[in-house]
């Protein structure tokens, strides 16, 4: 067994785990945060995307031990209480989903794209940057619209907070 300690959505968690434990297993089974999904289990689909120290990674190919000491954000960590994150709000407003399975990963990637590329995103950029996330329903049209709107809303939010 290996001891891991990390901050997940602002809360420090410590556990003894089998060293083979994947980050996504740790998040879902130890912490019971089931918003992070396992789609393909081979790091193709991106449904398992979380942020580790502020950057997006696929938690189905990340061993929990490698993020020991890190700061992890899952989809559950985006909202403040009842106030959805602007990107979550944009997905709801644009109906950026069909079955919803890929949505947590899409939203975590979307926030990461805004962090890296800024809030003024054209459609081509969004589609290119979304390369690591697959929607099996092929519902990309509204997802892309949602990310464009969400990006602008995030910028407005950041200004309002200043």
């Amino acid at each position: 067994m290996a001891k891991v300690s990390m901050t997940v959505n602002g809360k420090v968690v410590t556990a003894d785990v089998d060293p083979r434990t994947l980050l996504v297993q740790f998040i879902r089974e130890n912490l019971h945060l089931t918003g992070t999904h396992v789609g393909c289990d081979t790091s193709q689909c991106g449904a398992c995307t979380v942020h580790v120290d502020g950057v997006a990674v696929k938690s189905c190919t990340t061993l929990a031990v490698t993020v020991d000491g890190a700061n992890v954000t899952t989809i559950e960590g985006l909202a403040h209480g009842d106030h959805l994150h602007p990107m979550q709000e944009a997905f709801r407003e644009n109906h950026g989903l069909q079955c919803g399975f890929c949505t947590p990963g899409m939203i975590m990637s979307a926030v990461d794209i805004v962090n890296r590329k800024g809030s003024n995103l054209d459609e081509a950029t969004i589609r290119a940057e979304l390369e690591g996330n697959i929607c099996r329903c092929t519902g990309y049209h509204n997802i892309v619209k949602a990310i464009g709107d969400g990006a602008k809303a995030m910028a407005g939010h950041a200004q309002a907070a200043e």
Partner: protein
């Protein structure tokens, strides 16, 4: 699945190579290849799992004395973010840009891409055109010993390298290329992201007017390892880049690649691609 009896996260190179010397170890860095391979049964965990991400000596991207040193733990994202890589090693930068997807580039390391030794490994062909060398550290008799070997000799087969079990890949060294050097990378897959190459091509050369010298051409996914293409290079070396030189290079390339047929493409198709895509890249060089 085998049992892991010990987990170690060494904090220094000395500690890491001591653990390797002591025995049966699986090395873990980004985990982006290791995890799918152990899940699919292609690879089994050895009794000790050693996470090398805390070893400071394996980090860093530094240029000194005419040599670029890339620490084995450097992620693909860090390479992409480096202005030096973008300006001086643009072929390598392009390969990093086409590497998997952002989430994987954030975790995957260049050392892992090399040690995994896939014939289609994205960084391998550009590194071959840059005359890259790998630095391996071990501790056989109580003190750290290093050896440096050209990447072309380090890659010995699909998933196989010349790394001894007690050795750790510490860094990649690239001699800074001379004035006038340019490089480029092309990868063909069925979709732009997250795809394993059907073929890949990296080129690098020093350009003086229309004349090319120090020509390096490497192909991925057409042989058991990423390879340099000696006859193709010879067809271009020291000559002006014109239609005759390009025809000769394309003919040499098709002639010297003997790819396999597999689920991604037939041997015939791969050779057609190698010829046609090399022509496209060389035409671009000739017209720019």
């Amino acid at each position: 699945m085998s049992d892991i009896t010990a987990y170690a996260a060494p904090r220094s190179l000395d500690e890491a190579v001591s653990l390797l010397q002591a025995g049966d170890v699986t090395i873990l860095a980004g985990g982006t290849d290791l995890t799918p391979q152990t899940k699919s049964g292609k690879l089994t965990f050895r009794p000790t799992l050693m996470n090398i991400r805390r070893v400071p000596e394996l980090s860093g991207l530094t240029e000194s004395g005419g040599v670029m040193r890339i620490g084995a733990l450097t992620t693909i994202s860090s390479l992409l973010a480096s202005p030096l890589i973008h300006e001086r090693f643009n072929g390598l930068w392009q390969a990093c840009d086409h590497f998997a997807s952002d989430q994987i580039r954030n975790a995957a390391t260049i050392g892992g891409n090399i040690c995994n030794a896939s014939p289609a490994g994205d960084t391998l062909t550009p590194l071959l055109t840059l005359d890259a060398r790998v630095v391996l550290a071990s501790k056989p008799n109580g003190s750290i010993v290093r050896r440096t070997t050209p990447l072309g000799e380090f890659l010995t087969g699909p998933g196989r390298t010349a790394r001894q079990p007690a050795e750790l890949l510490e860094a990649i060294e690239i001699p800074m290329p001379p004035e006038g050097f340019f490089s480029a990378f092309f990868k063909f897959g069925t979709r732009p992201a997250l795809d394993i190459s059907v073929i890949s091509i990296a080129i690098g050369a020093v350009r003086d007017g229309r004349k090319l010298t120090r020509v390096r051409i490497a192909f991925g996914a057409v042989a058991p390892t990423a390879i340099r293409a000696a006859a193709t290079e010879a067809a271009l070396e020291g000559r002006p880049i014109d239609a005759a030189a390009i025809d000769a290079a394309v003919a040499a390339a098709v002639n010297e690649t003997k790819p396999v047929s597999d689920v991604r493409a037939s041997s015939w198709y791969r050779r057609e691609l190698v010829g046609n895509m090399l022509r496209r890249m060389l035409d671009h060089v000739a017209n720019s």
